[in-house]
Symmetry: C2
Subunit: 257 residues, 2 copies
Amino acid sequence: MPIKPFGELATDFSFTTFYSITLLPITLNTMYYQNTDKFLISVDCIIFGFHKKELHVLLTRRPVEPKLNEWSLMGGFMEEGESLSEAAEKVLYRYTQQKDIYMEQVAAYGDVNRDTGGRVVSVAFYALVKTEKFNTSLAKKFDAKWINIKELPQLVFDHNKMVMDALMLLQYKVSTQPVAFHFFNDKFTLPALQDLYEAIYQMELDKRNFRKKLSTMEILDKLEEKDKMNSKRGAYFFTFNKHKYNKFLAEGKRFSL
Amino acid sequence: MPIKPFGELATDFSFTTFYSITLLPITLNTMYYQNTDKFLISVDCIIFGFHKKELHVLLTRRPVEPKLNEWSLMGGFMEEGESLSEAAEKVLYRYTQQKDIYMEQVAAYGDVNRDTGGRVVSVAFYALVKTEKFNTSLAKKFDAKWINIKELPQLVFDHNKMVMDALMLLQYKVSTQPVAFHFFNDKFTLPALQDLYEAIYQMELDKRNFRKKLSTMEILDKLEEKDKMNSKRGAYFFTFNKHKYNKFLAEGKRFSL
C-alpha cells in the first residue's frame, strides 16, 4: 500500500502500480502540491516602544469589517513573492517609516475560527521601536496610538494573546541577549535601562544587583555626556559596545540581566 | 485617501466615495479577504525521544519528489477544517499511533524558496515521545528511524534549522518547566533524569547540584520500587507529583533545573 504522509488525498493511489517506479514520485509530487487546500496568511506586528518609564504597544483602530474601528495590532497579508519576514517588514515600514527595526517572530496562530472575516493563519512578530524617532504624523494617518501595556484594551480576534506571548518572549530575550538597547536611540543612562527592564519584567529590580550584573559583563561604554533632564546630579550616558560583547561571548560567557 | 493596511491591492479604491459610508467597510472586507494570495501550509514535527542516554529524533526517508528518499522530518499539509495544532496532532498520530503527546510549536518558516516543490509555509512543532511505548512496526511501515541528535544527517529543505530551533526551545522549556517527565513512561530514576537533562543540554551536569535543585523543589514522589537494570545497588524510581507542583507554583516559586 502506498504511503500518504502528506495528508489523505481523495484519489486512490493504487493506480500508480500501472506506472513505472521512476514515474511514481513525480505523479505523487504533482498531486501532493496541487490537490491541497490553500490559505490566506497574514502577519501581525506587536510594536513595542519605551516611553515615560513604561512599555507601550502601538495599536490602531481596525479600518475594515469585521470588527471595524475596534483596537487591533498592525497587520497585513503576505503576498506571493514575499517571505514571512518580508511581509512583516512591509507592515512595520508602512506604520513606522523606519527600516532595520529589530524584529522577532513570536508564533503562528492557526485556530480555524480565529478571524471572523475568513480563514486566515496569522504569524505574529514583535518589533522594538525607538519612540523618540517615531513620526507622529503617521500615527494620525493610521489612527494609531501608543498604549501602555498595563492598560491594554480588548483587541480583535486573538491579538491579546499575541501581545502576551510576545511579552513573554521579550522577557526571555532581554534576560539572555542584549536586545533591549534597541529601544534607545544609541545612548541611554543606567537608571533608564533599569526602568526599561522593570517595565518589561513588570516588577521592580534591586538597583545594586542590576548594576553589578551590568558592570561585570563589561559590554558598555561610558560617555562623557550626562543626562540632566531626569535628575539634578545627572546620569552618565552609556552605549552598548558590540566589539566588547563579541569578546565577552568568545570567552564563553553568557549575557544575563 | 483610503488607507490600505492589508496589502496594496490592484484595484483603485477611490470609487468607494460613491457609496455610502456604511457600505464601505463591507466592500473593503470582501475585497481584502478575496483578492489576496493563498498558500499551502504544512506542519513538520520534530519528534524527540530519549533512548540509551541520548536524545533522538524520529526521521523518515521522504517518499515524494523533490528530494525523494532523503532524510526528512515527519510532515503533512494542513487541511481546511483543521487548526495548525490539529494538523500537527494528525501527523503525530499517523507516525506514532499515540494520542495526547506533549507538543509545542517552534516557529513558522516562510522563506519564498524553502521548499523546492512549491511555495509552502511550514509550521514546526516539537513533540516528546516515550520511546518505550514506540511501536516498531510503524517505523518499518514509514521507513522511520530514531537518529541520535548528535549524528543528525543532512535533512531536506530547512529541516536541520527546524531541529536546531526545536532543541533550543526544548532546552529553555525543560530548564523552566517540568516537561522533561513526558519522555518517561510515568516513573524514572534520578540518574536517568540527569542523563536526559545532559542529553538535552548537551553538557555534563554536576550531580550534587542537580539533586539539590530537584529535592529543594519537592515536586517528586519516591516510589518503593528500584531500577536494578542499570546498577548493582539499584536506583529508586520517582514520579512527578502534579499536585505538589501546583502547590509549589501557588507559593510563588519557579521551576528551575
